[in-house]
Amino acid sequence: MSNPLEDPDDDWWNSPVNRRESIWLGLAGAWSLGIFTWMAGFTQFGDQNPIGTTYDVDPEEYQARVGEYKETTEETDDGLIPPGDDVYVGAMRFNWDGLPVVLEAGREYDIHLGAYDVQHGFSVRPEENLNKQINLQVFPGSEWVIPMTFDEPGTYHVVCNEFCGQGHRTMHGRFTVVEG
């Protein structure tokens, strides 16, 4: 008779385990390993992984780099058209510098994310389907380069979902994805 308020019997380590508890250990263990294998494997074969390259960069330097990049873009009513595959986004209270931007569907871009002041949340979703969404953290002091390929044309909204100050809910940008 084992009760959690008393010292266990002397042979508690060798007491037999209930058959159904043993089966459950097997099921739970297999499930744990299964979801681990899937998660680790997905970094190899999957298309959605928050993995990119990070560089240390002074926030002011990053801001200057975004400025230089913007000089090279073409300005249209729908936003900037980047000259190559690199797209720079600078987060600041309460604006996404470098957005809106016009991209081509099916083309892989390197999205550079960085902040000028405090931490921000880079949250992207297509206009017509709110449950398709990604959320990434943006730091001052880091330049994070994440490749992205939008497969469908449309408007993708960018909101800030980290508390960067009381106006942060107004922090809004856009990707306009057009037929490639």
Binding site: E21, L25, Q48, Q119, L130, N135, R169
Partner: protein
């Protein structure tokens, strides 16, 4: 004053001990009084934090739209600190004192340290509240996280450190008890004491991380150092930010083992397996903090895979072990006494009108199905991208902490009222209603938060983002119906919380004093130690097994659904 003093009065023998008529434990006056002191303080923090739940929920429900943005963040910070930290940590010190000296039948050692710890914690808690409430521009409300370099008042970091130091001091008498109990003997601690001990170790790890994080930020705010690295702060911060929630988890599970035994007649089905699960927590659960850093720049893929898997899901496996072991303990205990046959007769015939029992069982079920599953799912590197900083995350931690831990602690407080304060409830009907009302209302509110986040992408940490987003053509208005349901059930959950505080405080002040030897209706049928029946390992645990298979099925379904949604996204990352 005399009313308060009378709360700390019981009939002790000449040696200061009395026998508890429910648990049968030898309880010393010193332990009992400090458990009461920390428990009462926790309930005050609960009442403060709970009242801010009202203003926070009624702001987020834009149909009401109570507060403007600046007050909202202040109220949200008060809500978070008083409930996630002060209500929980004061209760946890009480849990340590129950799990240590009370279960072991000892006096509380180092009582001056216990008192000093309490005073320091109270000073820290008042300081944190004041620094949030009185913060002025350019300082922002800290929320729970106070991410640098957002300017937050240095008083906040300073007083938070004071609170953490106080909690460390208050834990010392517990560790001294365990030390003196195991030093010269090869005594094996009872399971509840063992669980409390692992909880205490995890708490110390978390607190050290918290002191490091806040000291780092404080040094920057008072210009001792010129700059801070947001990534390093986040790593340090989440040692406590999530570590404190791991303390809640372990304290809750320890309380589950304690209360299912005392009010439900549960036995331990396998000491070996349950203790191994606690050991797995000890090694792996703090890795879980990494899930907050999954979508941060600068972490290697290997770091992400190792940490968020809690090392091959060692800690998730541990939780699944307890998920079987605890209901199995009830099933085995009741079957051995012949209480209820069939698949679920042992469960349906259980004392459901006893609010301590009902609160414990609801805590187990709701934590498992709503909190545990979502925690593992959102903790996977890739799925995390869809959950991070949306209201779905808020739903997850309301499932773990507001449903799981808070319900378990509700049960514990009601139990302490009967067994240590020796008071009858002012109304048995109202007391019985607490776990049902709170569990049901909070479950619906929590589910709505999850839906708003995962199906509508509504961000967290905003005062409003559904109807009224100034300067933006983007709208989350599709989520309005979700918020209509959320708002109503959040109100009901808050009312249930008011009911809990009302019944608790009312019973302490106006409840009849229980006569000596009266068990207050807390004991299971047939008493705590029923004899007879077959050995535990031979009892048919088919009811628990069926419940666990249902759990695994729901787990798999939620897992597959989340991965399906993820793979519908455009290609992201390397």
């Amino acid at each position: 004053m005399s009313a308060i003093a009378s709360l700390f009065r019981n009939d002790y023998g000449a040696d200061g001990f009395r026998a508890c008529s429910v648990t049968g434990l030898d309880v010393h006056r010193s332990v009992e009084n400090y458990v009461k002191l920390f428990g009462l303080t926790a309930v005050i923090a609960l009442a403060v934090g709970g009242s801010f739940a009202f203003s926070v929920a009624m702001t987020r429900w834009e149909f009401v739209g109570l507060l403007d943005a600046s007050s909202y963040y202040t109220h949200l910070s008060m809500h978070a600190w008083n409930l996630l930290i002060f209500w929980m940590v004061f209760m946890e010190i009480a849990v340590l004192y129950v799990g240590g000296p009370m279960v072991l039948g000892r006096e509380l050692p180092l009582r001056r340290l216990a008192a000093l710890g309490w005073v320091t914690m109270v000073v820290g808690a008042i300081g944190v509240n004041a620094s949030i409430w009185l913060a002025e521009a350019p300082n922002e409300a800290p929320l729970l996280t106070a991410y640098v370099p957002l300017p937050v008042t240095p008083w906040f970091y300073g007083t938070a450190i004071v609170f953490l130091l106080g909690a460390t001091i208050a834990a010392l008498p517990f560790f001294a008890t365990i030390w003196s109990e195991t030093r010269d003997s090869d005594r094996t601690l009872p399971l509840v004491a063992f669980g409390a001990f692992v909880t205490g170790i995890i708490a110390v790890e978390a607190i050290l991380g918290g002191i490091a994080a806040f000291a780092y930020a404080l040094a920057w705010r008072i210009d001792l150092i010129a700059s801070v690295d947001p990534g390093i702060y986040r790593q340090l911060y989440w040692i406590i930010g999530h570590g404190s929630q791991q303390i809640n988890l372990l304290a809750m599970i320890t309380v589950w083992y304690f209360l299912t035994h005392v009010v439900g007649g549960a036995v331990v089905v396998s000491e070996k397996i349950s203790r191994t699960a606690f050991i797995l927590y000890l090694f792996f659960i703090n890795l879980g903090a990494a899930h907050h850093l999954l979508v941060d720049p600068g972490m290697s893929a290997g770091w992400r895979i190792w940490n968020t898997s809690y090392a091959f899901y060692g800690a998730a496996f541990a939780s699944m072990i307890h998920a079987f072991a605890i209901p199995a303990g009830i099933e085995a205990g009741r079957r051995r006494r012949g209480q209820g046959g069939g698949l679920f007769g042992w469960l349906t015939s259980a004392p459901w009108r006893n609010p301590v029992f009902a609160a414990t069982i609801f805590s187990i079920i709701l934590f498992g199905f709503l909190g545990g599953i979502t925690g593992v799912v959102m903790g996977q590197i890739q799925v995390n991208m869809t959950w991070h900083n949306t209201l779905a995350t808020v739903g997850h931690f309301h499932a773990t902490v507001a449903l799981g831990t808070t319900l378990a602690f509700f049960g514990l407080v009601l139990f302490v009222i009967k067994t240590m304060f020796r008071r009858d409830f002012v109304s048995d009907a109202l007391a019985s209603a607490i776990p049902y009302a709170y569990g049901a209302a909070m479950s619906v509110a929590t589910l709505m938060l999850m839906y708003a986040g995962i199906l509508y992408g509504v961000p967290r940490r905003t005062a409003e983002a559904v109807r009224n987003i100034p300067g933006s053509e983007f709208s989350f208005a599709a989520a309005v119906p979700i918020f209509m349901i959320f708002g109503v059930f959040a109100l009901l959950a808050i009312l249930s919380g008011v009911l809990f505080v009302g019944v608790s405080v009312g019973s302490l002040l106006f409840g009849d004093r229980l006569p000596d030897g009266d068990d207050g209706g807390m004991l299971p049928e047939g008493g705590l130690h029923a004899d007879g029946g077959e050995p535990v390992h031979a009892v048919e645990l088919r009811g628990t097994f069926a419940l666990c298979l249902i759990f695994l099925g729901v787990f798999a379904a939620v897992y597959v659904l989340n991965w399906y949604l993820l793979t519908q996204l455009w290609a992201i990352g390397a």
